[in-house]
């Protein structure tokens, strides 16, 4: 069973690696933003599987943090850039 979990982690890591090509290629800022989602969700899955494989349930707390941060980054980027565009939005 343990080898299966390790295989899953390895597979998910490779998925992330492939997804990173999208950050590199872009072509737009929004495409790059997608990667935060990819990393958020897949990273959480990796942590969940790892917490089972290492027998360390506390890794689930890290998973929660990942999620929070991924969404915060998206909110930040969207608000910051739209605020810069239309001053009535967030800034000033």
């Amino acid at each position: 069973m343990l080898w299966f979990l390790h295989l899953v982690v390895l597979f998910l890591l490779l998925t992330v690696c492939a997804g990173l090509v999208r950050v590199w290629r872009g072509p737009t800022l929004a495409d790059r933003l997608l990667t935060t989602q990819l990393f958020g969700t897949t990273g959480m899955a990796i942590l969940i599987v790892l917490s089972g494989a290492l027998g360390e349930p506390t890794l689930l707390n890290v998973a929660i943090t990942f999620n929070v941060l991924a969404v915060l980054l998206v909110v930040c980027l969207v608000r910051v850039w739209t605020a810069g565009k239309a001053p009535k939005g967030g800034a000033s």
Binding site: G26, T28, F66, V68, L69, G84, S92
Partner: protein
């Protein structure tokens, strides 16, 4: 099998670091840095450092990532960051920012400076030789930490180190965050936070922020309380609370102006101040600096952690809000091109 996970993670983090530094645009640099931080968090999870993983994901990748994105507005105007990379590279010649974003390294690819590369190679060889081969085995303070755990008032060794064995480190760290806040205030173009009403026009972000903020607060409190037994504690809680503050601020709530200025000052200094006063009180009682009385150690640590977490969270929110408003005067001055 698990060795391959480690090798893949290590390779990925190194590749991301290199890519991040050689990325043609600053936007790529930021997102690769974020990915790098999360990869590092995974590596720390593999190494069994759960506290560090939370701290890295939250502060190292999350908070700094947010600050970098905000700074991107100054250094790379929206247009260059959103058009296709190749175009941004070509059209960037007109604007100074564009050319800077386009050429990552000093001499370009044609003539890489040999001296830094040579220095880097030498340092790498020395570091690898020293780290992998020469550092003696069997050192470490694990035994010492384990022996004294019963007397520290908490059950989790990392929390014991942070808030009991070496609490002056933590105390000064809270101080460093405070000083960073003050220094950033001093460097920025000053002024107070603009008092603005609730300005959200977003039909989804507002209700979501109403749900997410309490959830974040609860998770933060949960991690804070958990720090006694498991990975978690003041810093992790602080970052989640800070994330809550930043989220509310970005959703348009008047976070920085809802409290009077004095309250903010109290909030920001409470962690540092109470920590110091407690230390002085123990010292005047005949103990050493931060030598907690054994019976109350657990509760005192929880009190200190709560206040420190509140202070750091307030500082992080204030740093971000100040960063965000640093750009505001320029946004009105420079017209959109």
């Amino acid at each position: 099998m698990s060795v391959w996970i480690d090798i893949l993670l290590a390779t990925l983090s190194v590749a991301l670091a290199v890519r991040c530094l050689t990325a043609p645009t600053l936007a790529q640099c930021v997102f690769l840095f974020f990915a790098f931080g999360l990869t590092l968090a995974l590596a720390w999870a593999r190494l069994g450092a759960v506290d560090v993983a939370i701290a890295e994901a939250a502060i190292g990748a999350g908070f700094l990532g947010v600050l970098l994105i905000d700074a991107l507005r100054d250094f790379a105007p929206a247009k260059e960051a959103t058009v296709e990379d190749a175009e941004g590279y070509a059209a960037g010649g007109s604007a100074a920012e564009g050319s800077a974003a386009g050429v990552p390294l000093r001499a370009g690819r044609a003539a890489l400076p040999l001296l830094p590369l040579a220095i880097a190679a030498v340092v790498f060889v020395l570091l690898t030789a020293e780290a992998v081969l020469n550092v003696r085995d069997g050192g470490g303070l694990t035994e010492l930490a384990q022996e004294n755990l019963a007397r520290s008032g908490v059950d989790h060794p990392v929390t014991a180190v942070l808030l009991n064995y070496r609490s002056y480190d933590t105390w000064l760290e809270v101080g460093v965050v405070l000083i960073a806040l003050l220094a950033i205030f001093a460097v920025g173009n000053g002024g107070t936070f603009a008092r603005r009403d609730h300005v959200t026009h977003d039909p989804v972000l507002e209700p979501v922020s109403r749900i997410l903020a309490p959830v974040l607060f609860l998770i933060g409190g949960f991690l804070l309380f958990l720090g006694k037994y498991e990975p978690g504690g003041a810093f992790q809680a602080a970052v989640l609370w800070g994330a809550m503050g930043i989220l509310l601020y970005l959703a348009g709530w008047p976070v920085m102006t809802c409290l009077p200025r004095v309250w903010w000052q109290v909030l920001l200094t409470a962690g540092f101040g109470v920590f110091m006063l407690l230390g002085l009180a123990f010292m005047s009682g005949g103990g050493a600096w931060f030598e907690y009385p054994l019976a109350h150690a657990g509760n005192l640590i929880l009190l200190i952690e709560t206040l420190a977490a509140l202070s750091i969270a307030a500082a992080l929110t204030a740093i971000f809000a100040f960063f965000h408003e640093m750009h505001a005067p320029d946004a009105t001055e420079t017209p959109e091109k």
